[in-house]
Amino acid sequence: MTFFEFVGQFWPRLLSGTGITVAQFVLAAALGVVISLAAGLMKLSENRIVNGVAVTYIEIFRGTSLLVQLYWIFFVLPLFGITLEKFTAGFVAIALNTGAYGAELVRGGILAVPKGQWEAALAINMSPAKRMWRIILPQALINMLPPWGNLMIEVLKGTALVSLISVTDLMFQAKQINGTTFLSAQVFGAALIIYYILARFLVTPFMRWLERFMARKLGRA
């Protein structure tokens, strides 16, 4: 069977898998950004407890594998009374993993904002929260967007692991089709190409656009 015949026959399943993959990606990315922001700000806190919580979270999730985290959340967390449905467990695990890496980007971005900006915000008597939200974070965002582009590709790739807890994403469909047809080159090749298209022609251009958009907003373009 040629590659095109193969795609002609199996495209509905590949497409539905791709839909799930995109959904997992969007949810994991959105939640991951929120967690990154929270953990990054907490790590900058001078309160030892708040800081300690953030450091512990970051070290645990950066120090272990995404797959271990996924299995732990899906198979072990129910023993603690927290049962997540597999679809939810999937993107939550990826988001928690992403958040640990993103937190460091947030922290670095904030620390890279010049000290004079804090001082100028204080000189017009802004409250600490307003200083952070209105003055520092917008500038930190632009500092950290380029590395976020790479992290987003990692999020997309990370979604493939949810197939291992039977979320019916692209990876899962590919595996299933391979199991019944043994057309491994065709099915895995098709899946590789779809992931590549998602990364190269959707995620990366979107992040580039976001960078340009932010730069324009900050009057730097």
Partner: protein
């Protein structure tokens, strides 16, 4: 903890100074930056601070803006303590809340302008009035446009700082500080980071403020001619202390202390 029971809870009276440093100390580890500084600035007075680098001049302004904590003494602004607050008829170190309340009296312009890069000139000026003072956007816009007019930047009001020259940025920064209606304005080496040909546009704005507005001002500067022209008083700092102070004509024309003479002649040679 240092004993501050001897300091008054308030300074009142017709001739009470707008700003008063009482035995203010600042140390960085073993280094004494300010050594029991006493300095009063009257309402409406323009005081220039000159001196070699490392003499503590900038620290004076930064403490008044509460960017630095003090290690001893008390600073008063408009009669009441800034660095401390009265609690049960005794002075205790200021809380964050007290600082926020009292900071409203003070505005500051920085050497490197520190404009917010993600906001236009107008938005920079409106930010404080809208976000901190809670003024309506319309009113804040009017006030900010007036001030940008005053500093000659109204035509560039919709530009971001990255599109403005240093002199233009500094003028916007002055408007931003004025928009908060401070009683005391601080100028921290506002011309030091500028190219020589644009220094004039900033000094002219400050001149205008001095002649047309009754603001209390403290200015740290390296521009002796400018300080001489517009100040009511000049303080020469050396090694964390006021070595000599007086009317500009006296201090520049007939300095009494050897260190003042040395400094002034060294500056003159450099020009």
């Amino acid at each position: 903890m240092e004993d501050i029971s001897g300091y008054p809870l308030e300074i009142s009276g017709a001739d009470a100074p707008m700003v008063s440093f009482r035995k203010v100390r600042k140390v960085y580890g073993p280094l004494v930056v300010l050594d029991d500084l006493d300095l009063d600035v009257a309402a409406g007075e323009m005081v220039s601070i000159i001196g070699p680098s490392g003499s503590g001049k900038t620290t004076v302004l930064r403490m008044l803006m509460t960017l630095e904590q003090i290690d001893g003494g008390v600073i008063y602004v408009d009669g009441s303590p800034l660095t401390h607050m009265a609690k049960n008829d005794k002075l205790v170190p200021a809380s964050q809340r007290h600082l926020r309340e009292r900071r409203a009296d003070i505005g500051m312009c920085f050497q490197h302008f520190n404009l917010f890069p993600h906001m236009t000139a107008l938005e920079n000026c409106m930010e404080g009035p809208v976000q901190v003072l809670g003024i309506s956007r319309k009113e804040a816009r009017e006030r900010s446009e007036e001030l940008l007019e005053l500093v000659g930047m109204i035509e560039k009001k919709d530009q971001h700082p990255s599109r403005l020259s240093g002199g233009q940025q500094q003028r916007v920064a002055i408007a931003r500080a004025l928009a908060m209606r401070p009683k005391v304005m601080l100028f921290d080496e506002v011309t030091s980071a500028l190219d020589p040909e644009v220094i004039g546009e900033v000094t002219n704005v400050i001149r205008k403020l001095v002649s047309e507005h009754n603001l209390t001002m403290l200015m740290v500067t390296h521009q002796m001619g400018f300080a001489r022209d517009i100040s009511d008083r000049v303080c020469f700092f050396y090694d964390g202390k006021i070595e000599e102070q007086g009317l500009p004509a006296e201090l520049f024309g007939n300095p009494q202390k050897a260190r003042t003479q040395q400094f002034l002649s060294a500056v003159k040679e450099a020009v």
